[in-house]
Every structure is written in C-alpha cells, then in structure tokens.
Symmetry: C2
Subunit: 341 residues, 2 copies
C-alpha cells in the first residue's frame, strides 16, 4: 500500500496546475519508486478554501481552472478565511504556489505559520513568504520539527538551492553572479533586435513567462528576491532584502544594447554577491559583460549562475525552460525529498 | 562528543592527499556542522597496507608521501595482500582513491567487495571498479545495506551524478552531451594555437591534471568511462562499456582545429547519449560544434554537461578546476552524505 501524503494546495495558478498535470503523468512512477500518493485534501485560491477528507481528483481541479472556476464554487467550500485552513483539516504537507505579492502577503504568511505549528511540512514556489519572513519561517519550522523546501523559487527547475546547500558542503562562498529572471533577459535580447521595451514586455506576457505583475521582472525586484533567498540559504549574509542595491532595465535603450553587441559584449541584468572587506555586497543592475563569458552566454529565456568558492573554484549552472514545467517539477522534487523513502 | 567514523584510505595519490589536506583545513567545520571526525585506521598503497586502531595523523600521511615514502615503511605495516584489509581491521568507511587501471583491477574490486560484505560504506574517486563491475558492486551493497557514493568520479567537483540522481527526480532522460575530460579539451585548445599534440600533452602532464596514463585522456577512454557511469546511474541503459563507440583525438590536427575556429566552430571531444529508436546510442568522438553553443563554450580546463529531459527541458552545468581540490571536496561531500547528521 502506497503511503498517502495529505496535501493542501495554496494557489491554483500556473505552478499548481502544472504540478497536478505532472502528478497525473507520473503517478505510476511516484507509486513505484517512492511508494507514495499525494492526496489533495485542501485547496485555497483568492475566493477562499475548500476541503475534502477523501481528496479532490487532480483532473477536477485542473478542469475547474480551465473553466475559469473558483474554489468557492466547488463542494467542500468553507466560508472561512483561508489562513485558517490548518485548523479546518488534517494534512501533512502544504504547497504554496500563489503569485508573489510583497505588499500584502501577511495572510499568506499567517497561513504558512499555522500549518507549521500543526506539524505540516511546507514546499514553496512563492518567493514572497521567504523574502518577507525567511528567519521567522525557518526557525518556526526548526522548532516544530517540520521541513521547508523551496528549490522552485530560484531559476525554475535549475537546482541552484540544492547544489549550494547539498553539493557544495563545507565550501565557503567567495562570490556569485547570475541571471535569475528570464523575462528581463528576453526583453534585453529583443532590444538588441530593435524592438521597443514595451513591445518586448508584451511579448513576454503573451508567452506567459512574465510574472503576473511584469514590473517585478523589469525593475530587478524578482532578481533581488532570488538573490536574497540564495544568500540567506547558503552564506553568512545576515542583512535584509533592503540591503540589496537594485537597478532595473527600465532605462536601458535599444541603442545601448546594440552598441554593446557591436563591441562583442552584452548588457545583462546581473545579480551579484561578493565580499567588500568583511561585509557582503549584494547588487542587481544592468551590467556589460563579455559575450563569450558564462553570464554573456545566457540567452533569451535561459537563467543561470556562476558560483565561486574555496573548495570548488568555479561552478556554473544554466537552464532553458519554455514553460513552467521545470518549476512544477522542482516543487514535486521537494515534495519527494521531504517524504522519506 | 563527535561521532568517530573509522576510515580506510586506498591509494595515497593526489586525491587522498588532497582529501587529507581538506580534512585538516575543515576539521572544525566538520565537527561543528556534522558532529563527525574521520579517523584513518588503515591505508593501502602499491607497497601494501598499514593499520592503526588509534588512527594515523592526517599530517603524518601527508608527510610520508611528500618524502616519497611508502606504506611499507610505517608502523602498522602488515605483510599481507591489501585486498584483505577488511579482515584485518574494523572500519565504517572505505575511500577508493587509487589511479584508474582497467586492465588489472581485480585486486581493487576484491578489496571493495570484502569491505562491503563487512558492512563498510564505500566512496569512490576511482572510476575503474565502477566501469568493470557496476552492477555487481551496487547490488552487493544493496544486499549488505551499505552505501556506495561516487560523485567524484565524473567531472571532479561538478555534481553531475548528484544533480541527475537527486534533482532530476522522475524526469526521463532524453539526451546528454558533455565534455568530461579537461586534459583532452586543453590539448585541443593548444592545437588551435599551433602547438603540437605531443607538446600539449606534455604540458598537461606538467600541470598535473592528466591521468597517470595520459593515453586514457587522449583516446577518449576516460570520457567513455564517465559516460558509462552516468548512464548506469541514471538511465535505463543496460549495455556494457564496450557498447560505447569511442574515437579519441589522436588524429586531430592543428590545421583542422584552426580551420574550425575560422568558421566560428570548435572541435571538441564530445560524449553523447541519445535514443535511436528504443535503444540508447552512446558515443565519444571529436565533434564540430558551434563556438557559441554550450558545449563550444567549455574552454581549456573546464568540463561540462548538457542534460535534456522531459520535465526539465535543458539543464547545463560546467566547472573550472585548476587543481584536484574540487575532486577531493567531492569525496568529502560523499563521506558526509553517507553519515546521517
């Protein structure tokens, strides 16, 4: 008998829909290789929460969203504030896949905290709770002996967080440089072709890869959020998100990008972390790099990172994802990491 | 009190010497973060074996090698065949860091098998036992509930094996392309400068990165060994090392490399695995690639891999290591992975 993991989904957007599709496609492998079945006993969206002891069918939730339905239309809807879902149903695991909202995410954080206190493990694809309350959430989880995983929050399916925390064991980070936002990287590439920034952003939204609010991509805030999560996870950086100097690509012109290309360079929205004396210096800004450097080689929809450390010299990772499948697969990898085999 | 892991080192070459240096440099962090101390209770080299219940000092073993000494000169030497070391001392962990020898490694494999049967965990930096007896060793370990780790056998410190086996969970491999041998990659780069192949190989040996027998690098055999280990670890490939078509760089001329460069391409010694119908096709051969492709961007002493899968589309990793420290750190990462925290 497969072990049943009672799971609650927060958000029914691209990430959790993609996750449900993978759960259908790979259900046999999950059962065979991990002896596990994920039963969705609760769902939360902007309309409220619904619960089901016997579990929602994956297909029903996908169909609900395809028909532009909301959680308040399904059997199991509870007229209560979603942040109290951990008081309404028993579960093992919370998946936070709602859109990033740095302004008004107090309800989301309260929901996660109540889940941790109930002993649920947490997998996050949403960066906001980590950016707003990294220390609070990780120490609460430690206190309640639950696990928090969030490898999907940085560069989609690229295992940046996992490589840093599991493979670079005992290494001391010296510096890192990365391109963490594919939308802005794509926009810069379009500028080189002479396309206007407004048109390029529109195209990124049509492709569906831009954040719900694309200003997060263009302003460098999304990149800074990821840099913050990486540095909190792996280094002795103890500052806040406000310690990152952020400059977006709003003012970069097609002419500048084209001039750079002529000189065999590229203008990229680069996140960097390096030591200045004893302190970490964290920056996000448009930066001119050599076209044949690793950062310069990260094209269009790609994202990547170059990590320098005492033991491993230089390790570079990059990925290409045309759709959110890699991000959704990263959520599933975290869900399986939490479940002991 | 730190948990003491009784450890036996096989080989006192670059890998295990580098490991001992890291154990000294990071001993405090190992104790603090992992509550562990590795006590070296046995060492094996070509002269025989030596054992010590109270443990050899890391520094003494380093000094022994620096003075070109052998194990048969130290207190604790036993006049017995090294393959029986698991019968001569109690230990928890075997580190196999001897040079690759595909012709005559039966004694090495016997040593590992006796260790597994005694319940020792095994960390390999030496590829030969895996190439010669992958299935036998992994199933013996499963049977005796011991662990085998070998992330150091492929691309030094680059976590190729770990990313494939832990991060690409449930993904189905579609294809991979890689440069797994830095020496031959460096030699090809020297050819482009007009240096002769003999002189380039000599320089690689002076730098100390070539295998003890550089023909393994140049013939493509080392690359094939790594491709085999990857495919046995992560795919449904069930063939033997002999199923890999191998062509080395012996016949590549400076002129060819220079012609390629003029056409904005590069000749690289590429390992590839892709499906032909239902069967895997594995090859190692000099291949012309675009200079601005990921494989084309792997320069000189770098190594790297591009992995395509159903869930993660394209993930690429590369590293630069001027010395064996990354490989030694990968051995240590495996040693710590085996020890539960």
């Amino acid at each position: 008998m497969a072990k049943v993991v009672k799971t609650v989904l927060v958000g029914l957007g691209n990430v959790n829909l993609g996750l449900l599709k993978i759960l259908i496609d790979k259900s046999e492998a999950i059962a065979e290789q991990y002896n596990t079945r994920f039963k969705i006993v609760g769902v939360v969206d902007s309309s409220g929460m619904a619960i089901s002891e016997k579990g929602f069918a994956y297909e029903d939730l996908i169909n609900l969203k395809h028909n532009k339905g909301k959680v308040n239309e399904i059997t199991g809807f509870l007229p209560k504030a979603p942040e109290f879902i951990a008081d309404c149903i028993e579960a093992d695991l919370l998946i936070e896949g709602s859109p990033v909202n740095l302004e008004h995410d107090n309800a989301g954080i309260k929901l996660i905290k109540r889940a941790i206190i109930k002993g649920w493990h947490v997998v996050l694809a949403n960066k906001a709770p980590l950016v707003l309350a990294f220390d609070e959430l990780t120490s609460l989880a430690e206190q309640h002996k639950t696990k928090i995983r969030y490898s999907a929050t940085v560069c989609g399916g690229l295992p940046v967080i996992n490589v840093l925390s599991r493979d670079l064991k005992l290494a001391t980070l010296q510096s890192l440089y990365g391109i963490f936002n594919a939308t802005s990287n794509f926009v810069l590439q379009e500028l080189e072709k002479g396309v206007s920034i407004e048109k390029a952003i529109k195209e990124a939204q049509n492709i569906g890869a831009a954040e719900t609010d694309p200003s997060l991509d263009i302003s460098g805030q999304d990149t800074a959020n990821k840099l913050y999560i990486i540095m909190k996870s792996f280094s002795d950086f103890s500052g806040s998100i406000k310690d990152i100097e952020i400059e977006g690509i709003e003012k970069v012109t097609a002419e500048e990008v084209q001039q750079a290309a002529k000189a065999n360079t590229q203008i990229k929205l680069v996140a960097s972390a390096y030591k200045k004396g004893r302190e970490w210096k964290l920056e996000v800004r448009p930066t001119t790099v050599a076209a044949d450097s690793f950062i310069g080689s990260i094209k269009g929809w790609e994202m990547g990172i170059e990590i320098k450390s005492d033991l491993y010299e230089s390790i570079s990772l990059k990925n290409y994802e045309a759709d959110p499948t890699g991000t959704c697969a990263a959520v599933l990898r975290d869900m399986l990491d939490i479940q002991p085999r």
